[in-house]
Each structure stands twice: as C-alpha cells, then as structure tokens.
Symmetry: C2
Subunit: 121 residues, 2 copies
Amino acid sequence: MDCSVTKSEMLNEMPNKDCICELAELLKTLGHSSRLMIVEALGKKSYCVCDLTAMIGADTSTVSKHLSLLKAAGIVRREKQGTHVYYSLTCPCVIDAVAQLKPLIKEKLQHYSHMIEVSNP
Amino acid sequence: MDCSVTKSEMLNEMPNKDCICELAELLKTLGHSSRLMIVEALGKKSYCVCDLTAMIGADTSTVSKHLSLLKAAGIVRREKQGTHVYYSLTCPCVIDAVAQLKPLIKEKLQHYSHMIEVSNP
DNA sequence: TCCTTTTTTGGTGATATTGCCAAATATCTA
DNA sequence: TAGATATTTGGCAATATCACCAAAAAAGGA
C-alpha cells in the first residue's frame, strides 16, 4: 500500500491499545437504550432493581442482567438493603461523558417537534 | 411491585426517550475497539481508508464498513480526493466524551497493575 | 419453619454483529 | 482503452447480544 503516512508516524498516532479496548468495552456497555436509561436515572440518585424495572418496562430478569453488565464494566456499584438491592453510579463522569455527545444528536433530533433542550452546559 | 418511588416521580426522572435512543446508538457505534481507534486517530487529523487500514491491521473491506457505520452515526464525514477517500471527525466533542470516561478506566488499570504487583514482586 | 417478596441465574430462540473473501465500482495514468 | 490502485458492496459463517420464561437464591416476617 502506498499511503500518506509513514510507519513511525502511525505508531506515534496510535493510542494505547489496552486503553482503547477498555474504553470501547465501556462504550459498548453504555450503548444500549435500557442501560443508558438506567445510567441516566442513577445520575440523579440510587435506585433498587424494582424501581428501574418499572422505569424501563422490561422483565425483572432482563433489567437485572443489564445491571450485572453495568457492574462488570465498573459503571455502577451494588448495595444490598434487606431484600432490595440498590445500585448507584461509581463515577459521575459517565453522565458528563454522555452529555458531551449531545451536540452530535442535536441535528438528528430536529425532526421531532417535542424535544428537550440538548445543548446546555 | 412495591417500590420506593412513585409513578410521577419516575416520570420526572425519566429522560427523553428519543434522546436516550439516539445517544445509545452513538455509544454503541463508538463501542468497538477498531472504530474507537479510528476515532482517536481522526481526532488528530484526517486519514484515508488505507492509512486507517494499516493502523488497525484488518481487511480493507472491514475498515471500510466500520467507517460506513461511523458515517451513518454522524461521527465522521467523508471526502473524496482522487482515488483516495479521506475521513474526518464531524465534531471534536466525541474525543472529549471519550476522555471523560478515563477516570473509570484508570481504576481498572490500577487494579491490573496491583494484580501484577502482587503476582510478581 | 413456611410464606412472601426481591433479585439473580440458567436456558432458549430470535436477531444482530463481525470479519473475511470475492467481486464490483471509481479514478487516475500510460 | 487497458491497467493499476483505492474503496465499497454482497455474501457467508462464526459469534455475540437480547428478551423472555422458569427456577433458584436471598432475606424478612408470621
């Protein structure tokens, strides 16, 4: 191949591969509407599984599995209280990260007439 | 179910569903190591397909399809120059968003280094 | 202990994603 | 026009993800 960058230049541009894989895993976990809805809710306060189940409107087992994935990714933490299990965000940075993407979806959402503001700091 | 939040409280907490779905789609697209590697590279400058193919070390067709997905998601733009096709970020906010997640990764990396530390002192 | 409620786990079928090959398309140059 | 290079597209097999159901755990109260 006869491309526009040299090999050493590419190596300099190449970001840390482990880091990229970890970040990609994190993004993949966030990239599901139910899980993202959970994360946005937990950004306000912690909720137990049945709260989140009611919010999402899916089977309890489905929500529980989503929460397991979020926990495995290190996005949420788990805390037992009697028969209830409460989940909360481990780091508010997740909310900030998602908020940063809002400029990109602003255009797409123009189609809908009823919409919350997407670009406020 | 007898949960800890009322229905109206839940509705207030519930974020805009269209918005969540769009964001989730965006995050899913970013949640693949090859695509994230492409995005990180494009954060520095634009590259043509063969550059990115060399970076990633996959088949050209594979990289081309990843770029199509990124373009469909509105993350990158396409520009033809002769036989080459150059891609660039549509919005630097993607880089910022990913950067926001690094605190979460750091914990994992520290966890790894701790384990390494323990396993070979 | 038995019963109830909450949550997790195992299993399954449907669907989606991924990466490669081969072929097609596009563009430049001789 | 023919050939070379760069990119995209179609197809396919392997794998992963998803949502539900049923059943198992976990914990509290009668």
